[in-house]
């Protein structure tokens, strides 16, 4: 359970995106930015560094998202960074995505894969998860080369691991 400030920020982002009427696009863009933020150490340290002037950090966000995301997404990220919550951005976005999916009576299934899934694969996976767990889900794909092959799906606390990485780890364990 996320702590209350994170849930509060997520609620604020959801309210703004819903009010702006582009919830789905903002959701995808925030999710994508959060993945980039987590993967990029330099970006993470710069946006979280209090010694860097806020104006410069905001300028950096604007430069990064220019032409790639909506103004609403850029504004919401700038708001979180300005509030000094840059380190909590991935958690806030996760809570936001959960809240957004919840508004449609769906859960979020985060799928980590070495390559992006095709639309057809996403559809089949959504159906497969529904068949397996009985939950309506929205699939969010995270590109993670360390998975090597296959995919890892996280739905809340449930994890379905069918990655090549897991098999290699099992092989490593069997050697011990």
């Amino acid at each position: 359970m996320a702590d209350s400030p994170i849930v509060g920020y997520a609620e604020a982002l959801f309210s703004v995106a819903e009010a702006e009427g582009n919830l789905s696009a903002v959701e995808d863009e925030l999710f994508g930015f959060a993945q980039t933020f987590q993967a990029n150490e330099e970006l993470r340290s710069t946006l979280a560094d209090a010694s860097v002037p806020v104006a410069r950090r905001l300028q950096l966000i604007e430069d990064l998202l220019d032409g790639k995301a909506s103004a609403t997404t850029a504004s919401l990220i700038s708001m979180v960074v300005s509030a000094g919550r840059a380190n909590d951005l991935p958690s806030i976005v996760d809570a936001f995505v959960d809240r957004s999916a919840g508004s449609r009576n769906k859960a979020v299934a985060t799928v980590r894969s070495a390559i992006d899934l095709t639309g057809e694969q996403r559809q089949r996976l959504t159906e497969a998860i529904k068949t397996s767990t009985g939950k309506e889900v929205e699939v969010k794909v995270v590109i993670d080369p360390s998975v090597l092959g296959g995919a890892i799906t996280e739905i809340g606390d449930d994890i379905i691991d069918g990655s090549v990485r897991r098999r290699l780890n099992q092989l490593r364990e069997s050697f011990r």
Binding site: S113, A114, Q121, L125, G149
Partner: protein, 230 residues
């Protein structure tokens, strides 16, 4: 006793010769011999027979003299008077003095005997005390020696047990250390080998996983999720 001796000497002194005429028996015999020799000059053997007969007759005359035991009356009177005087003196003066000296002597001897008896009793008491103390000391020393022996035995046993336990513990620890080091070495070696093998396998997998293989793996994964039921 002294008084009795003095009385006897007085009696002998006052007795004198035992003849009635006042001459001794020897002088009487010699006188008879002289008279016989003058009568029988020149006829020795006859004379000698006559002498023998005469002497026998004359000696019988000598022996018929007054008793030498019974003194004359005057001697008895003087002797008795002296005896009585001496007896009185002795009874009055000598006997009490001698008796006092004897009594004192007896008393002193009795006191000395009592003192000696007391000393002997004291000595026996002291000896008894010493013997009792000696016995106590012997008992105490025996007890202390026994106690020390028991303590020494116990100490030796304890030390021996401790040493054995320590040795056993050290052996176990050494064996455990060796075993642990061996297991650690094997584990390290196995981890090293498996790391190398897995690194190689990972590189092979990465190089062999092209887009088609990745798509097939995703499809297989979706089928797996569909197949898993919860």
């Amino acid at each position: 006793m002294v008084a009795s001796l003095v009385s006897l000497m007085s009696i002998v002194a006052f007795a004198g010769p035992a003849s009635a005429s006042g001459e001794s028996i020897g002088a009487c015999v010699a006188e008879r011999f002289e008279e016989a020799e003058m009568l029988h000059d020149g006829h020795y053997h006859d004379w000698l027979e006559d002498v023998r007969n005469t002497v026998d007759d004359e000696l019988e005359g000598c022996l018929d003299a007054p008793s030498p035991i019974l003194p004359e009356l005057t001697e008895i009177i003087w002797g008795g008077a002296a005896f009585l005087i001496l007896l009185v003196i002795m009874v009055k003066k000598g006997f009490p003095a001698v008796k006092g000296a004897m009594d004192a002597r007896s008393e002193k001897i009795r006191a000395d005997l009592d003192a000696a008896e007391q000393a002997k009793t004291d000595a026996q008491t002291v000896q008894s005390d010493y013997e009792a103390q000696l016995a106590d000391a012997k008992t105490e020393s025996a007890r202390i020696i026994e106690e020390a022996r028991v303590t020494a035995d116990q100490l030796r046993t304890d030390l021996s047990a401790q040493a054995e336990a320590s040795i056993a513990e050290m052996r176990e620890k050494a064996a455990a250390d060796v075993e642990a080091q061996k297991a650690q070495a094997i584990a390290d070696l196995r981890a090293e080998v498996s790391g190398i093998a897995l690194g190689a396998a990972e590189r092979v997998v990465q190089s062999s996983l092209d887009a088609d293989a990745q798509a097939r793996l995703i499809d297989a994964y979706i089928d797996e999720v569909t197949g898993s039921n919860g």
